[in-house]
């Protein structure tokens, strides 16, 4: 028997999908061609969040793990399903990657490298910090700026790309997320949750692309309603009793 010098770190790549038949085939192909950095092994899990298109068939044909939610639960609960799977199957890391092709699989390495360097429990792939391959509307940027400011106020840590859904969870973060990952607008809210639970949060610049299909989980981002809702959710996460 071969004796391996180092234990392979198993990484679950979580891909939440809601009607992503347009972008999913090429994304899955890119993922399968990916060579994991030394010391890591990758497994891919498509979380099909009640899609009504061919998302399930595409994922099944690609031979990846597929978790079919019988009804549409929203992005937060979909990611949580992935985290539950990672926890139950003892993965040491989980990486969330959106199913719409915004997050190039090649950038996964950046998250892993940053994690190795800092040991942060939550690593956020950030589209800001000097990279302008991703264009955002001014309103959206203002909204993100505001939420980032609010998070700074509540956690005294500056996270620039607070709505980024490209993120790495370590074992502690998987554990916490499996129990209480927020529901509706999970990205900004979960940062408050993780920070309050004493988990270290890091942010690393990655290259992002425009979405290739599907719809953002954050529609009408600039609307006052969205901002009010997220603000309320963040404030309550900041004062809520932790389990």
């Amino acid at each position: 028997m071969n004796h391996q010098p180092e234990v392979l770190q198993r990484v679950l790549i979580i891909i939440p999908c809601y009607n992503e038949e347009a972008a999913l085939p090429s994304l899955l192909q890119q993922l399968k061609q990916l060579t994991p950095p030394t010391g890591y092994s990758f497994q891919f899990a498509v979380i099909n969040d009640g899609s009504v298109d061919a998302t399930a068939q595409i994922a099944t044909a690609a031979g990846v793990i597929i978790l079919n939610l019988p009804i549409n639960l929203g992005i937060g609960a979909a990611v949580q399903t992935g985290l539950l799977y990672a926890q139950q199957n003892h993965f040491s890391l989980a990486i969330q990657l959106d199913g719409d092709g915004q997050h190039p699989p090649t950038e996964i390495e950046q998250l892993l490298r940053y994690y190795e360097q800092t040991n942060a429990s939550l690593v956020i792939g950030s589209r800001f910090s000097g990279i302008d391959s991703f264009r955002s509307t001014p309103g959206r940027r203002a909204g993100i700026g505001y939420l980032s400011w609010l998070a700074k106020l509540l956690t005294s840590q500056r996270i620039y790309d607070i709505t980024s859904g490209f993120r790495l969870f370590d074992e502690k973060a998987i554990e916490l997320g499996a129990i209480s990952y927020p529901d509706e607008y999970p990205e900004p809210e979960s940062i408050i949750l993780f920070s309050r639970s004493g988990l270290e949060i890091g942010e690393v610049a990655v290259n992002m692309q425009a979405r290739q299909g599907g719809r953002s989980s954050i529609r009408n981002f600039t609307s006052l309603y969205y901002c009010a809702k997220v603000t309320l959710a963040m404030l309550f996460t900041a004062i809520r009793k932790l389990n």
Partner: protein, 118 residues
């Protein structure tokens, strides 16, 4: 008996019968029916006890009886709506957990998705 008393009484009794019918048919849970039953009983009581409304109004220091009715009703409705929101939130949470469990369990069934994903 004044005409309005008869109308109120008949309406209340019909309402009561309808609630009973819903419970019998299994379309309304008893716990939610309690509020409606209490409301109907109050209506019946006040349709018999004509001076009652005036006395209760005086007790609260309200000048016009109609104002007491409206204020009381609106408050009761608001409390009940809040209660229903709490119930809906709880249901949503349970619904989420059920869906997640189903997804995870289905994944454990070998070859499940090869025979047709939904």
């Amino acid at each position: 008996m004044a005409r309005i008393q008869i109308i109120t009484l008949i309406t209340s009794l019909l309402f009561l019968a309808y609630i009973a019918w819903l419970i019998v048919k299994g379309r309304l849970r008893e716990e939610y029916a309690i509020v409606w039953l209490i409301c109907t009983v109050l209506l019946v009581v006040f349709s018999f006890w004509q001076d009652g409304l005036k006395k209760v109004t005086a007790l609260f220091g309200v000048e016009v009886p109609a104002n007491l009715i409206f204020t009381g009703c609106i408050f009761a409705i608001m409390v009940y709506l809040l209660h229903l929101s709490v119930v809906a939130s709880k249901l949503q949470q349970q619904n989420k957990q059920l869906a997640q469990d189903i997804a995870l369990l289905k994944q454990q069934i070998p070859n499940h998705d090869k025979h047709g994903a939904e």
